[in-house]
Symmetry: C2
Subunit: 145 residues, 2 copies
DNA sequence: TATAATTTAATTGTACTAAATCAAATCGGA
DNA sequence: TCCGATTTGATTTAGTACAATTAAATTATA
């Protein structure tokens, strides 16, 4: 009588992945709200803090997001004053997002967020390492297909 | 000069969780499309296949979703004919979703989905077990707070 | 038994998320 | 060079997500 075993919620691997992702992102909410950022905007800013400027295409590759998500998101960040958007001179199809002074300044205020979040991960260092490694194995496999 | 180390994308644990979740859910799309289900609708049906009928509150607890998500989702599943919605007689505040004959029949067609998905998880059995255990540790910790 | 507190869904508003399509610019081969 | 294929973003459409609020029903307490 095991016909439907595989259809049980408790036998899914994707479901806890999906649920845990949402739960953790939700945890960021109060800290990010103080910076006027959503979680997606926060990881986009993370890339900009490192790269200073980047095309939508490259940003999408790093975040696993497409232009349908990034275009309005970048417009919103531009409106907040954290970046500017302009076309590449070499190839007009390419849109470049560039961090602003205000966006750079935001980095200092954001620096406290990872510390605050660290406390609410109820995992041992080994579990966190293991989780990190497995997730990137999944992501790398996705990327190759 | 490690001031901003913790703000790097590659040092985040939440980011690969978030990205992997979306990538895997995306994988389901072609299989679920054939059943006229989204991923969220699919896991809701999974609960209904087991429970036959359940309140919005209880369903939300199982799926880590609130009524703002579930109300339109259940209405949509009702429109497709997979369930019916009615108020509880004991407590009129409680809305009960009950699986229909059509919804029950859908289970047979859905039974192939987990098999098809199994192939695209590029993890060893140990990694999958480990991931499952760690994710539920995270979720259980969230639930307790 | 009033009534205050609690429980439960629904609604509202904002913001992702992604498939599908469109349009413009560039590139590459004949 | 010319034209078809490709690349790249933008737009459109549909469906989540979730905080905040509202409304209705129930429960607990004075």
């Amino acid at each position: 009588m095991k016909k439907y075993e595989a259809l049980k919620l408790e036998n899914q691997l994707c479901f806890p992945l999906y649920a845990a992702s949402r739960e953790i992102v939700k945890r960021y909410y109060p800290y990010l709200k103080a910076l006027d950022l959503t979680y997606t905007q926060y990881i986009a800013m993370m890339v900009l803090w490192e790269e200073k400027s980047i095309s939508v295409k490259e940003l999408g590759k790093k975040l696993f997001l497409d232009s349908g998500t990034l275009t309005p998101l970048l417009k919103s960040l531009e409106k907040k004053g954290y970046l500017t958007r302009r076309r590449s001179e070499e190839d007009e199809r390419v849109l470049i997002a560039e961090i602003s002074a205000e966006g750079t300044a935001l980095r200092d205020r954001a620096a406290a967020v990872p510390d605050k979040m660290a406390g609410c991960m109820s995992l041992s260092a080994e579990e966190a390492d293991s989780l990190y490694r497995i997730l990137y194995k999944l992501l790398d496999a996705e990327k190759r297909e």
